[in-house]
């Protein structure tokens, strides 16, 4: 990392994404009615608030950032003083910058989350609403997941050479990345049940609703599809690339349908997705990707039609009660 500028920029960008995610988590937590008591901290001095927020951000950043401090130590040991200084300043900035932002947010609790901005009025269907949601509220996690999935796909497929061509190993890691999309899918379903409830009672047929989901998830998978395209035909045969794309599409559509079976918590949901990934292992080992994507899509459609009208969001007990 100390010698390669490209790797340094990539790692720093990933740290930044992580910190932005932490910042988003904190500000969302502060906006929750349950946490309004936290605003009592505004009675303390600015310095006290800032230190508290820096400690908070440092704790949140530590699971990822400890590696950065390790590199600073290594840089000093090898006499890369300028690199060490720059890296240390960057790490400090990653903790102090968001801390200042949190202090500001706490000082201005009435500030609306969405400021007025001039933008063209959009004409859209339901997939457009969901894309808006990701762009407005889930962009950091979305970008992180896409970088994760596309990187796994790219690096594990790049090792393929004509003499030792293998798709099983790259696919297993690729499907792991696709599974990460389940986090967004679960959040989308939660958003739909909380903010788009009138749409549930709207005069829209199940066919149209399913078609909207299929279109939306096709759009969501564009980064993976583009990555697949860049890997063909040298590292991935055309047919295998198509199977990869279809399996990814089938898996995300299935993950969406699973959300209609029951009002699962994120933990329950991820466990089910993990089980699906374990079950797919047989198909991957037996080189049956051509069958796997059909199973995914057919199962997803059956679950969707059977469960959509039976789904009901359960009232959850409030924490602390």
């Amino acid at each position: 990392m100390l010698k390669s500028t490209g790797t340094s920029i990539l790692v720093c960008a990933l740290w930044l994404l992580y910190v932005l995610k932490c910042l988003s988590f904190v500000t969302r937590s502060l906006n929750k009615p349950d946490n309004t008591f936290l605003y009592v901290i505004n009675r303390t001095s600015f310095l006290h608030r800032l230190i508290a927020c820096i400690i908070l951000m440092t704790i949140l950043f530590f699971p990822v950032g400890w590696y950065g401090f390790l590199i600073v130590g290594v840089a000093l040991y090898h006499h890369y003083y300028v690199s060490a200084l720059l890296l240390l300043m960057y790490l400090i900035l990653l903790c102090v910058g968001p801390a200042l932002r949190i202090v500001y947010k706490m000082r201005h609790p009435g500030t609306p989350m969405y400021r007025e901005s001039r933008r063209p009025r959009l004409s859209f269907g339901y997939p457009g609403v969901l894309i808006h949601y990701i762009a407005a509220q889930q962009k950091i996690i979305f970008i992180t997941i896409k970088i994760f999935t596309c990187s796994l796909l790219y690096f594990f497929t790049r090792i393929n050479i004509p003499e030792a061509y293998d798709i099983q190993f790259p696919y297993l890691f690729f499907s792991l990345g696709i599974m990460a999309n389940g986090i967004i899918i679960h959040r989308i379903r939660s958003f739909e049940e909380n903010y788009m409830l009138p749409y549930r009672g709207a005069p829209v047929s199940l066919h149209k609703r399913l078609a909207d989901y299929l279109l939306f998830y096709l759009i969501i998978l564009l980064p993976e599809i583009i990555t697949l395209a860049t890997l063909t035909p040298v590292h991935l045969h055309y047919q295998d690339a198509v199977y990869f794309a279809l399996c990814a599409f089938g898996l995300v559509v299935l993950m969406n349908s699973i959300c209609f079976l029951e009002d699962f918590t994120m933990n329950q949901y991820l466990r089910i997705i993990l089980l699906v990934l374990c079950l797919q292992y047989y198909f991957v080992v037996a080189s049956l990707l051509s069958v796997l994507y059909i199973i995914y899509i057919v199962t997803a459609i059956i679950i969707f039609y059977r469960s959509f009208n039976l789904f009901e969001k359960r009232p959850k007990p409030r924490s602390g009660l």
Binding site: A136, Y195, L197
Partner: protein
């Protein structure tokens, strides 16, 4: 006419509502009941938002056999409406009227009467709870569907808006719509317009 037959709603094994039979003609009904009695659940069942056992039909259109045709006749305004905070009221209005096949221009008069013109192009994330309520009522009234379900419609509204909503409801009632309005307040302005009451007690609904 809205017909209920052997309608039953339960969460897990707990019965929330059990309506053996109930027929409602076009009129304004006050859905009356204590907190937690099942008023909102009742309205959500009629709106087709939550599942239930039994049959609810509008005329000959069964809510389960012909859900699209049934829902075409119904609109619903939630007690505590939430909308995507990143969309403007106008965008939501266009989205929902397109689903119903109603021209957007039909909503222009309602926008003025409800008093939301000033905010309609702003994102709903900047709305107060009263303005959100007005938006939900606008979306419920637009297109004048035959059945309108209003869950606590006047809560958080200012006095000018309350008068406007009462006027609109009166007009809808005269035009032959079936309105179900829930409230647990005796002095609710809309309650005085209603001469029929639906009592939600003991897990069932009785008409008086």
């Amino acid at each position: 006419m809205l017909k209920f037959s052997k309608v039953r709603k339960q969460f897990n094994s707990r019965v929330i509502l059990d309506i053996p039979t109930l027929d409602l003609d076009s009129n304004l009904y006050w859905v009356q009941g204590q907190n937690g009695s099942g008023k909102s659940t009742f309205l959500r069942m009629v709106a087709g938002i939550i599942p239930f056992d039994g049959q609810i039909a509008f005329g000959n259109v069964d809510s389960k056999l012909h859900p699209v045709a049934y829902r075409q006749n119904i609109s619903w305004a939630d007690a505590e409406p939430l909308y995507p905070p990143f969309l403007s009221g106008q965008e939501l209005l266009e989205f929902y009227v397109k689903l119903r096949g109603t021209p957007v221009k039909d909503a222009q008069e309602l926008i003025d009467r409800i008093g939301i013109r000033e905010f309609i192009d702003s994102r709903t994330g900047t709305y107060s709870s009263g303005t959100l309520k007005k938006l939900s009522l606008l979306l419920a009234f637009v297109g004048s569907p035959p059945i309108i379900l209003l869950d606590e419609p006047l809560v958080t509204l200012d006095t000018v808006a309350v008068k406007s909503i009462c006027d609109i409801v009166k007009e809808m009632q005269l035009s032959g719509s079936l309105l179900l309005v829930s409230s647990h307040l005796e002095h609710d302005a809309l309650v005085s317009l209603s001469n029929k009451r639906l009592h939600v007690t003991n897990h069932t609904i009785t008409l008086s």
